[in-house]
Structures are given as C-alpha cells and as structure tokens.
Amino acid sequence: MQVVLNNWTLLLAGLFNTIQLSVQVILFGTLVGLIGGTLLLFGHPVIRTIVRAYVDIVRGTPLLVSIFLIFYGIPALGIPMPAFSAAVIALTVFAGGHMSEIVRGAVGSVPGGQTEAAMAIGLVFAQRLQYVVFPQAVRRMIPPWVNLCVELIKGSTLVSLVSVTDLMLSTRQVLERTAQPVPFYILLAIVYFVLCYGFGRLGGQLERRFAYYD
C-alpha cells in the first residue's frame, strides 16, 4: 500500500496516457470506420476491393502483430515518430478495420425502400446519406460501436509490450520494485473494470437516447 502511495504520480501519469490513447484511438478509429464503411458500400469497385482487403487483413491478424508491424515498421522505413503517436496509429489501423465493418453492416441494414423513397423526393446521393440513411444507421451502429470501444480500451494495454508507458506498464514498473505483485494487479483490475464497465454503461445511455428513432 505504501508503495502505491509513494508512486501515485507515476501511476496517475500512466492512467492519463491510457485514457488519452483510448480517446484518440476511438475518435480516429470511428472516423476511419465511417469513411471505410461508406466506401465498402458505395465506393468504386477498385477502391472497394482495396478497403475490403484492409478490413479482412486487420480482422484476421492479432492486434499485437499489427502493433509490432506498425510500431517498429514506421521507424524502420525511415520515418521518425514519437512512440505514443506510433501506438495511436497502430491501434487506429486496427480500430478502423473493425469499425468499417460495423458501419457497413449498420448502413447496409437500412431497408432499400428508404433510399428509393429519398430518390423519389429528389434527394441527391450526399443528401440521401445525410438525411435518410445515416440517421437510421447510427441507431444500429451504437451497440457494436460500444463493444468495440471497450475492446479498444482493453487492447490499449498491449502498447505496454512496446514500452509505451500506459497504466499497465507504469504499474508493472512500480510493482517490479516490490515482491508483492498481487495488490497491484488487483488495483489494475479495479481501474480497468471501472473504465470499461463505465464506458459500457455510458454506451447503454447513448443507446436509449437514440432509440427515439424507432
């Protein structure tokens, strides 16, 4: 207990990094997913094939392997980059692939009659998406989106393996000075549970808020 108190600034810095990383990855990943999912449905066939390949590759490889490839690969190509940004990019590539599939599924599940009705009243493609299809798709997107976000918060611990000091790594650095890892792991479990469960509950609220469209 004394060790936790003595090193609380380190642990807090780790927690701050974890939250910052998660927030950035969720934002950028959602953005990539919205673009990717739209391209999967409405893109030019060549672009569609490329995006499909990206999505399938990301979904078929472990996150840790993508992290190693991107985190060490970018500097290997001669592009200098701070560790934290490389971690954000690696997780965003992963998040974007999964998010694209969620967006594709949600947008694709809006009945075709809606698009036809929108065409009939003379809306152009962008307007159809903006006013008719997306508002209905968002509602279906939220439950899997929340699940993915929780997975991303959990997955952010993997950057500790490429020595980005998130909460996991900062705690492990502190606990290695003691012979008592268990209290630290329990502390970690509580913090991560609160983060993930809290996000899940927040997502539940969001779901109810958007259920209005039903």
Binding site: V65, F68, T157
Partner: protein
C-alpha cells in the same frame, strides 16, 4: 531506404510454424477448459437458484471488462503468491484464456439454452428423465447445434489471442517473431510474414468450422 531480405523468413520458417502449431494447441486446449466453465456457468445462470445466477453474472461482467493481458499477468505472476506453483507459462496461458473465454462462452451457451424451445424439455420430463438427464440428453445436443457458429468465432478469436502469450515468453508464433526480430532486425519482413500466417490460419479455421457446422446442420 529499406531493403527487404525475405530469406530471413524462409530460414526461420520451421520455428515460426512450430509456434503456429503451439498456438493452435493452446487455443484448442483453452476452448475446451473454457467450454466446461461456460457450460457449467450457463446452466447455473439459467437455473432457478438466485445466488448462482448472481455469482455467474458477476463473473461474466467482471471478466469481460478486464484486459486479457492483465488476466495473463495475474495468472502467471499472481497465482504463485497464493501457492499455486505447478503452472508453467504455457499452462498459465491456457488457464488465463480459459477463464477469459469462459465468460464469453457462458453468454453464448446461455443464449443457446434459452433458444431451445421449452417443449423439448417438457417432453423429456414427461417421459421420466431427471433434471440432469434432460440437461444432458435433451437441452445440450440441441443447444450445441444452435451455438456452433458462435463457437467457431470464439475459437478463431482465441487463436488470435494466443499471441498475447508472447508477453510471458510462451514460444508461440508472435514470440517466435519477437525472437526473430531481436536476432535479425528484419522488422517488415518478419511481422508481415507472421501476419500472413495468422491470416491464413484464421481463414483455414473458418473454412474447417464451416464444414463442421454444415455436417451437424444436415441432421438437425
């Protein structure tokens, strides 16, 4: 300029493939242990005992909101502090993955049990089967066919999750890649080759499981 040297991958292919096989073994082992946990927990969750229901619900919620890496570290570094010292790193990984997947499997099995129509269980009861016999000979065979597609998905994600074993030096594919990188520093070649191996194996598993599903669907 980055000059690729793919021979590094070819020369070390046997090590990589050995790691791949270990990963498959670990995922099959942990889905079996996790399946037993999930099955027991799912029957407890659907039983009429309120306390059991709450305990299982707590287990599922807790584990599903924890990072897998934390569970692995806890099992590997934490359990010995409680006197559980007989697990090596592979055993720890299997146990951690089993506990982790057990929570997801509980939910899958629970949904499967609830999807079996009540009439079958009532029919079983009416021909004089005990509660256990109804669960074992009526509900379970029907449920398995319903949950088989979800089981395939769980197996595939478990196989991908075995990559976290690298964190506790389990010599599976990702760890073999880390060693390869330390020895040769051919980053792009080795990690893209490993990614391709994972990808191919996942698709192979999906193809195989689809055939299993079709086989059982034929006499459903």
């Amino acid at each position: 300029m980055y000059i690729t040297r793919w021979e590094v991958v070819w020369e070390n292919l046997p090590t990589l493939l050995a790691g791949l096989v270990l990963g498959l073994e670990v995922s099959v082992g942990s889905i079996m242990v996790g399946g037993i946990i999930g099955l027991l927990a799912a029957f407890a969750r659907t039983s009429s005992n309120r306390v059991l229901q709450q305990v299982v619900a707590g287990y599922v919620e807790f584990v599903r909101n924890l990072p897998l890496l934390l569970i692995i570290f806890f099992v590997y570094y934490g359990l010995p502090q409680f006197g559980i010292r007989f697990l090596d790193n592979v055993g720890s990984l299997v146990l951690a993955l089993a506990v982790y997947s057990g929570a997801y499997l509980t939910e899958i099995f629970r949904a499967g049990i609830l999807a079996v129509s009540k009439g079958f269980q009532e029919a079983g009861k009416s021909i004089g089967l005990t509660q256990f016999q109804v669960a074992r000979f009526v509900t379970m065979p029907l449920m398995f066919r319903i949950v088989l597609p979800s089981l395939s998905n769980t197996l595939i994600s478990l196989f991908k999750d075995t990559s976290l074993g690298a964190a506790i030096a389990v010599p599976e594919l990702t760890y073999a890649g880390m060693v390869l990188n330390t020895n040769t520093w051919r980053i792009l070649e080795s990690w893209s080759a490993i990614g391709a191996l994972y990808l191919a194996t996942c698709y192979g598993l999906a193809f195989m499981m689809r055939r299993v599903e079709r086989h059982y669907a034929s006499w459903a």
